[in-house]
Each structure stands twice: as structure tokens, then as C-alpha cells.
């Protein structure tokens, strides 16, 4: 496992370097002028030239490339062309917002999706199964941003149960920064009112993000379970007189987990890379929105920074999935 981890980390470094090089070259050869965008639509030529110089965009391509790559090797992602803040600082603020949303959504997907899948498989062909399957079809069919609008309308506007948007009440200050996850930071600071406000603000975006993916999780779990429940080793377990719960959870479910884990790995990757539309609808200042805003404003150091973070997330989540395979199926570990 250690070898696998080391191998993955080395590939990660190479992949990131390759991505950074490609993204840098692509952003530099685009037919656009980032200095003009940074200066604003009504800037005069002398202001644009000054900004170009300040940002180092007047230097030859090879010089900019060397400066950027050497900076990257030191962990410096460059500065945003628009805000002039370090991209790493921006990402430090934005990524935790997405992480908080993704972690909670992940929990909902795993717990509810897997449970519904097991129930559906165990009660295959019965009303509970039909009900869950129908719900799964509906859940998979509704795009998260549409669901988000419905949730806002019903639970925020009509029933007034949850806040319409945002991470925190407008009149509340964020908790002191430790992890950037407001729920954790408010708990660490003992600010219960903020903690409660954060949880309430998380409810609708988490629901919007997780319901569709939860449906996918339920479907994968159901099909995996149905296949496993028909296997001889399950019949043997039952014949040995084991309790049904034990047969289902310890024997059948464990063996049905590999496709489920694959699916979850991909889903978590997507959640962490920022569900842009949900972030937009709920005014969630996360990574996805940051990436989109950066692209629209030709803020290319920010674009590269966000893309690298998303790449790291995908590679890491795939690595975790591979490691879990080995844990779940000793034959894979052996290979």
C-alpha cells in the first residue's frame, strides 16, 4: 500500500506540473488582453500599460514562464490579476467553503444513498423497492440547480424554515479563522449562535447537492447488492443460520461495495471541485464560483490555481478509492 501511495504521489506531482505548463501556455496564447480587463472597460491606454508593467505582462513569454514555474515549485501560485491578492490566499478562503459543503453532502450521500440501496435490494420487487426506485429516477433526473431553486422557494420562501442563501447571517461575523470551515471554527471558538446559523445555512445547499448524487449512490448499491445476494457464499451464510442483518451487512454488503466506492470516489471529487451552479444559486463563496469568475475575467493565474486544486482533489480522491479497494478486497492488495 505504501508503494501504491508513493507511486500515486509521484504521478500527482508530474500531472500537476504538466497541467500547470499546459494551462500557462494556453492562457498566454489566448487572443485576449488580461491587462485591459484588469484595468476596466473605460481605462485609458496609459493605465493599461502601467498595469501591464505592474503585472509583469510586458515581459517576454519565456521570462514569464520561467518566473511562474519557479514560483510554482516554491508553492507560489502567483497573484490574481484583478485583486492582486495571492492566488493561494484566495484559494485558502474559497476552498474551505466548498469543502464544508462537500463533506456534509458526502455524508448524506453515503449514509442515505447506501441505506436506500440496501433497503431496495433486500426488498426487491416489493413496494419499498418500487418507491425507492421511483424516487431514484426522479432524483437523478432533476439537475441540482433546478432542485436548488425549488428548495429555496419551498423551504426558504414559503415555509421560512431555512435561510435563502449565504454561509452565515448577514449581521454575523465569521468565526476566527482556523480551518475555514465555519461549523468547525465556530465550535472551536465556542460561538454556538454562529454554529447554529452555519448549520441552517448549509441545509438547503447540501440537500440540493446531495439528492441527485444520493440517487446514483442508491442505484449503484442496489445493483451491487442484488448481484451479491444471489451469490453462493450468501446462501451458505444463511444456511449456517446467521442472522439476516449480519448476512446482509457483513457478507453481502462488503462484497457489493467496490462499485459503490468507485462511484462515491467520483462523486466526492465532483463535490469538492465545486458545484458551480449550486454555489451561484446559494451565493456560496466556494471554489467553483471562484474558478468561473476567474475564467470570465481572464484572471489566468487564478484560473491555473483553481484548476490545480481541482486536479489535486480528483487525483487524491481516486487514490483514496484505490486504497479502499485494497482494503475491501484482499485479492487486489495481493496483486
Amino acid at each position: 500500500m505504501g508503494k501504491l501511495l508513493l507511486e500515486r504521489l509521484l504521478t500527482l506531482v508530474l500531472k500537476l506540473f504538466g497541467m500547470a505548463v499546459i494551462l500557462f501556455v494556453v492562457t498566454q496564447i489566448l487572443p485576449a488582453d488580461p491587462a485591459a480587463v484588469a484595468a476596466g472597460t473605460d481605462a485609458r491606454p496609459e493605465q493599461i500599460e502601467k498595469i501591464r508593467k505592474d503585472l509583469g505582462l510586458d515581459r517576454p513569454f519565456h521570462e514569464r514562464f520561467v518566473t511562474y514555474i519557479t514560483g510554482l515549485l516554491r508553492g507560489d501560485l502567483g497573484k490574481s490579476l484583478l485583486t492582486r491578492r495571492a492566488v493561494a490566499d484566495d484559494l485558502k478562503l474559497r476552498f474551505p467553503a466548498t469543502l464544508e459543503l462537500a463533506i456534509l453532502s458526502g455524508f448524506v450521500i453515503v449514509i442515505c444513498g447506501v441505506s436506500l440501496g440496501i433497503i431496495s435490494a433486500v426488498h426487491a420487487g416489493k413496494p419499498a423497492d418500487y418507491l425507492i426506485r421511483a424516487a431514484v429516477v426522479v432524483g437523478m433526473g432533476i439537475p441540482p440547480f433546478v432542485l436548488a431553486l425549488f428548495l429555496q422557494l419551498i423551504f426558504a420562501k414559503w415555509l421560512d424554515l431555512f435561510p435563502l442563501e449565504g454561509r452565515l447571517h448577514t449581521l454575523m461575523a465569521p468565526p476566527p479563522f482556523r480551518t475555514g470551515l465555519y461549523t468547525i471554527d465556530s465550535l472551536l471558538a465556542g460561538q454556538w449562535d454562529i454554529f447554529w446559523s452555519c448549520l441552517r445555512h448549509l441545509a438547503l445547499p447540501v440537500a440540493a447537492l446531495s439528492l441527485g448524487r444520493l440517487a446514483v449512490g442508491a442505484r449503484f448499491t442496489r445493483s451491487g447488492m442484488l448481484e451479491t445476494l444471489g451469490q453462493p457464499f450468501v446462501r451458505t451464510a444463511r444456511a449456517k443460520g446467521l442472522r439476516e442483518n449480519r448476512v446482509i451487512l457483513r457478507h453481502a454488503f462488503r462484497n457489493a461495495l467496490i462499485p459503490v466506492v468507485t462511484m462515491l470516489g467520483i462523486q466526492i471529487g465532483f463535490l469538492l471541485s465545486g458545484a458551480v451552479l449550486v454555489e451561484v444559486v446559494f451565493t456560496w463563496p466556494g471554489l467553483g464560483r471562484y474558478a468561473v469568475d476567474s475564467v470570465l475575467s481572464f484572471d489566468f493565474y487564478a484560473v491555473i490555481g483553481a484548476a490545480l486544486v481541482i486536479a489535486v482533489i480528483f487525483v487524491l480522491s481516486n487514490t483514496v478509492v484505490d486504497l479502499l479497494y485494497a482494503q475491501l478486497d484482499p485479492r487486489i492488495k495481493h496483486k
Binding site: G40, T41, P45, K50, T83, A97, P285
Partner: protein, 519 residues
């Protein structure tokens, strides 16, 4: 009895202490602006054209002068001024007893340091205003003298937008000769009525009332001003209906209809210093004046106003009305017969094709492009429309081979001076810069008028005369088509009092000091 008298006296004393405070100030809570866009920086010397950026910065900083609601230059931190006859020397007396948010008191040194800093940094859309300044001298504690290299009316017209910062704060936060640029990007130390409480990037900026503000706090005021960012339109409206947002800037046409269906929302219209113009590059078929004039007659002016559902006004000049030097030289009316006649008199009577760029950042731009395309199709002119982002457009416009034949733009001007706008529209020095003169117009006579006008002293009647001639030339040469002034729409919650749109507050000024909320 003595004890009773003592208690009575203490109660009276307490009431006396409390009475003035409760009688003078009425805090009416937090005022929330629901905006789409976040400021890139809080530094007044780097101000762009984002209206929200203006709202936030102008709440915390003040200039030496300001524009009244009628567009007159009136005192702010300066109480009076003298302008030399040659318009090269400006001497300003400063207001006494003005305090910065860091506790320091305003004096001539603060003004000198702020102006020098702004000129040196030269960033943002106001970077050009102090370009003609030679020296800023401290005459005494409360008097400052500004000497210009050459007389430039734009300096005086733009001075209200130049904000005064605390010299102490600049000195204390300077790093590697950056004139505290890093510090002021995320902090604010001005003299404005509201001081920065917190900026949570990506979320909101909160400003609270500055207790020692020089105008005092008599009467009803908002206690804090919160600018929220990243809100999309539907969310902003839902929040406003619930009273969680009090002002929505740059609302759309459909929002007027929405506002009309509820008592919770009012809509306001304003006439910003911003016009919509169509440019024709002097090349190919458009090098022929007859063709350009034909296109001017073919433009669907009335249809555009109709598309804007009445929330737009026709333009009578390449300069905006309400600006110094504006004069009506143009009557917008579509006349297809006249257009055909002019086209027949040109060398391109059989039709031709053109490329037009537009930026699809909002619906009117697309409407304008499509309507004009349809009108020209009737004349046998085929128009290829390209919807491209700003950065790409600028890049294309710099090169004669890639520049578009036609393009349409909203033009903002920071100062109510027609010369600034005319310069940006068509001065030959901006050819191939991409940032203006998209018509690639080169007329030395026109240039000379624009160069002479700002050298005259403020108030000189020749300014109007010269600029009027310049506007007439542009129309006669059919270089630019003045399409319309799209009115500014904002929405306010029914509880908002004292708010009035200010077209002169560049890039936006809410005047939060004047606002209060009624429960």
C-alpha cells in the same frame, strides 16, 4: 426630603445626560446593498468602474470637493478655493476639525500625500485626472496649493473623485516603497461617514458609522452599511421582498414589472453619465462618407427605445446631456428612404458585408445588434455579428487587420465634461490602442478642438464653443452613431428613506449618510 431632592437631582442629571443623545441621533439599523460584484480593491487610487466599488469606497472616503446633485462643484473637505487666471494654480483652504478613522486630524500634509500618491500610482479609471499636476505644496496647516504643468480643465472636473487618505496611515503601512498599496487594498482610513468594520472576501463588506464624523449625526441615519456580493438577480429580489436587502443596483427591465406587483419594492430611474454608441471604422465601404451617413439614417433608434420599454432616452449628440460642453447637434430618427438614397450615391449601391462586434453582457447590446442587422439587411448590407468578451475585443481592435468594421459600446465617463468623452470616442491618439476611437478616426481639426478646450479656465464660455464644434464635426463626418441613454434602474425596499440616485458620483455614490430606514 433631602434624600428625595438628592435622588431627584441625580435623576435629572441622568436625564440631561441621556436627553441630547436620544433626541439628536436615531439609528435605524443596517442598510444592506445586494450586489453581484465585489470590489477588487478598497484603495481609492485604484478605483475601477464597478459601481459597488464606488459605493463602498465613497462611503469611507471624501474628496476636497464634490458634485452637487445638480452637477455643480461644491466644497467637501475644502471650504473654499482660488483659481489663477491662467488656470495653472489652484489654492484650496481645508475644513477644520475633520478626523480620519485612525484618529488623526486632516491637514494640508494629508492632502499633499494623498494627491502625490494618487498621481504616482496612476491606476484605475481615475488615474489620468492628476496627470497634469506638477506639484502639490503645503502653504500652511490648512492651505494647499496645486500647480499644474499645463492648464487642464479635466483636473478640476475630476478632483471631486480624488479621495483624501490619512498620511499617518500611509506612512505607517508603507512596504518596500508601495505607498501602502498592499495595506489600502484591504483596509480603509478616510474621513467618510462610515468606517470599515470588516471585509469578508467573496461575501460582504461591513461599514459602521464613524462616531467622530465631522458633519455629526443629528437626525435619522443607518448604523451600518453592508455591501453583499455574488447575489444573483432572483436571490436579490427574494431577499428584498423579505427586507433582508435594501438596495439592488443595475436592476433589469423585468425587475420593474416585479416591483410593480409588490408594495415591498420601489424602483427608481436615473440618468447616468453613460451612453450607448455605435462606431464605424473608416475603412472599406465605410471609408465612404455616403455609406456611413446611410447607416446613420438606417439605425433603428425608435425601435431601440421601444425595446427598452421606455427606460431609455434618445441622444442628441456624441456627448451626453448634462455634461459641460454638450450641445444638441443630432436628431435621431430612422429614415430608410434617405439611407437608400445615400447608398445609391455611393460606390457600394449593390450591397456589401460588414463584421460587427458586440459584447453580450446584457440584453440591450444584443437587441441593438440584431435590430441594426435587420435594418441593414433591407439595404442589402449583410452584417456578421460576433459576440466577444472585452479582453478579446480590445486585442482585435489594436490591429487594423483584425479590427471590426463596427462595434457598439456603453461608454461611462467619470467626469461630467463632454471633452473627456469626445476624446475617448475619437481622438486620433487612441487609434490602435483598442481602448477608444474604435472608428479609427483621424481628423487634426477635431483633435485640435479637444486639445484646446481643457486648457481654458473653468467657466470660460469658449469651452462650450469648442466642444460644440467638435460634436458637430463627428456628426457631419458620420463617425459615431449616438444610439441612446439607457436609464439606470435600481430597486429599493419600501423602508428606505433619503436615497436618491447620484449620476455624478463616479463610479457610484450611495450617500449612505443621507439614508435611513423606516420600520
Amino acid at each position: 426630603m433631602k434624600t428625595f431632592l438628592k435622588i431627584f437631582a441625580v435623576i435629572c442629571a441622568l436625564l440631561l445626560m441621556l436627553a441630547p443623545a436620544s433626541a439628536d441621533v436615531t439609528w435605524t439599523g443596517a442598510f444592506v446593498l445586494g450586489s453581484c460584484c465585489e470590489p477588487n480593491s478598497l484603495d481609492p487610487a485604484a478605483m475601477g468602474i464597478s459601481q459597488t466599488e464606488g459605493y463602498v469606497i465613497n462611503a469611507m472616503y471624501e474628496g476636497l470637493t464634490q458634485y452637487s446633485r445638480e452637477g455643480e462643484i461644491v466644497p467637501r473637505l475644502a471650504t473654499g478655493w482660488e483659481i489663477s487666471a491662467d488656470a495653472l494654480t489652484y489654492t484650496l483652504s481645508l475644513r477644520d476639525g475633520v478626523m480620519f478613522h485612525d484618529g488623526s486630524t486632516l491637514d494640508a500634509e494629508d492632502v499633499k500625500v494623498s494627491l502625490d500618491r494618487h498621481k504616482e500610482l496612476g491606476l484605475g479609471n481615475l488615474g489620468f485626472i492628476l496627470a497634469p499636476v506638477d506639484t502639490v505644496s503645503v502653504m500652511d496647516d490648512m492651505t494647499v496649493r496645486i500647480q499644474l504643468i499645463t492648464a487642464d480643465f479635466q483636473f478640476w472636473a475630476g478632483l471631486p473623485h480624488i479621495k483624501i487618505l490619512s498620511a499617518d496611515a500611509i506612512a505607517a503601512n508603507e512596504m518596500d516603497g508601495d505607498m501602502a498599496g498592499e495595506f489600502f487594498r484591504e483596509n480603509a482610513v478616510g474621513t467618510g461617514p462610515y468606517q470599515l468594520a470588516r471585509w469578508d472576501p467573496g461575501r460582504q463588506t461591513e461599514m459602521t458609522a464613524f462616531a467622530d464624523y465631522w458633519r455629526g449625526w443629528e437626525g435619522p441615519h443607518i448604523e451600518s452599511f453592508i455591501a453583499r456580493y455574488g447575489l444573483d438577480f432572483s436571490t436579490r429580489l427574494l431577499l428584498m421582498e423579505d427586507g433582508e436587502v435594501h438596495l439592488i443596483d443595475w436592476a433589469g427591465l423585468s425587475d420593474i414589472r416585479r416591483a410593480e406587483t409588490t408594495d415591498a419594492i420601489n424602483y427608481n430611474l436615473g440618468n447616468p453619465l453613460q451612453g450607448f454608441y455605435h462606431f464605424m471604422r473608416q475603412d472599406g465601404p465605410l471609408a465612404d462618407k455616403n455609406v456611413r451617413q446611410a447607416l446613420m439614417h438606417a439605425y433603428p433608434y425608435e425601435a431601440m427605445i421601444e425595446v427598452m420599454q421606455g427606460v431609455a432616452l434618445p441622444l442628441s449628440s456624441p456627448a451626453l446631456s448634462g455634461t459641460i460642453g454638450h450641445c444638441a447637434v443630432f436628431e435621431p430618427a430612422q429614415d430608410m428612404d434617405k439611407a437608400r438614397e445615400l447608398l445609391a450615391a455611393s460606390d457600394y449601391a449593390d450591397g456589401f458585408s460588414l463584421r460587427q462586434a458586440y459584447r453580450h453582457a446584457n440584453e440591450p447590446r444584443r437587441f441593438a445588434a440584431v435590430l441594426f442587422q435587420e435594418a441593414l439587411a433591407e439595404l442589402g448590407i449583410e452584417v456578421q455579428l460576433d459576440d466577444i468578451p472585452w479582453g478579446t475585443f480590445i486585442d482585435a481592435q489594436r490591429n487594423f487587420d483584425t479590427a471590426y468594421d463596427m462595434s457598439s459600446h456603453w461608454l461611462n465617463i467619470p467626469i461630467p465634461y463632454a471633452g473627456e468623452m469626445l476624446f475617448r470616442l475619437n481622438h486620433s491618439s487612441l487609434i490602435d490602442t483598442g481602448t477608444g476611437n474604435w472608428a479609427w478616426y483621424n481628423n487634426p481639426e477635431f483633435d485640435a478642438l479637444l486639445e484646446e478646450a481643457p486648457t481654458l479656465a473653468p467657466g470660460d464660455p469658449r469651452i462650450d464653443e469648442l466642444l460644440c464644434q467638435a460634436q458637430q464635426i463627428l456628426i457631419d463626418d458620420a463617425v459615431v452613431i449616438p444610439v441612446m441613454l439607457s436609464q439606470y434602474i435600481d430597486l429599493t425596499h419600501a423602508s428606505v428613506r433619503g436615497y436618491q440616485y447620484d449620476p455624478y458620483g463616479f463610479p457610484g455614490d450611495l450617500h449612505p449618510y443621507d439614508i435611513w430606514l423606516e420600520n
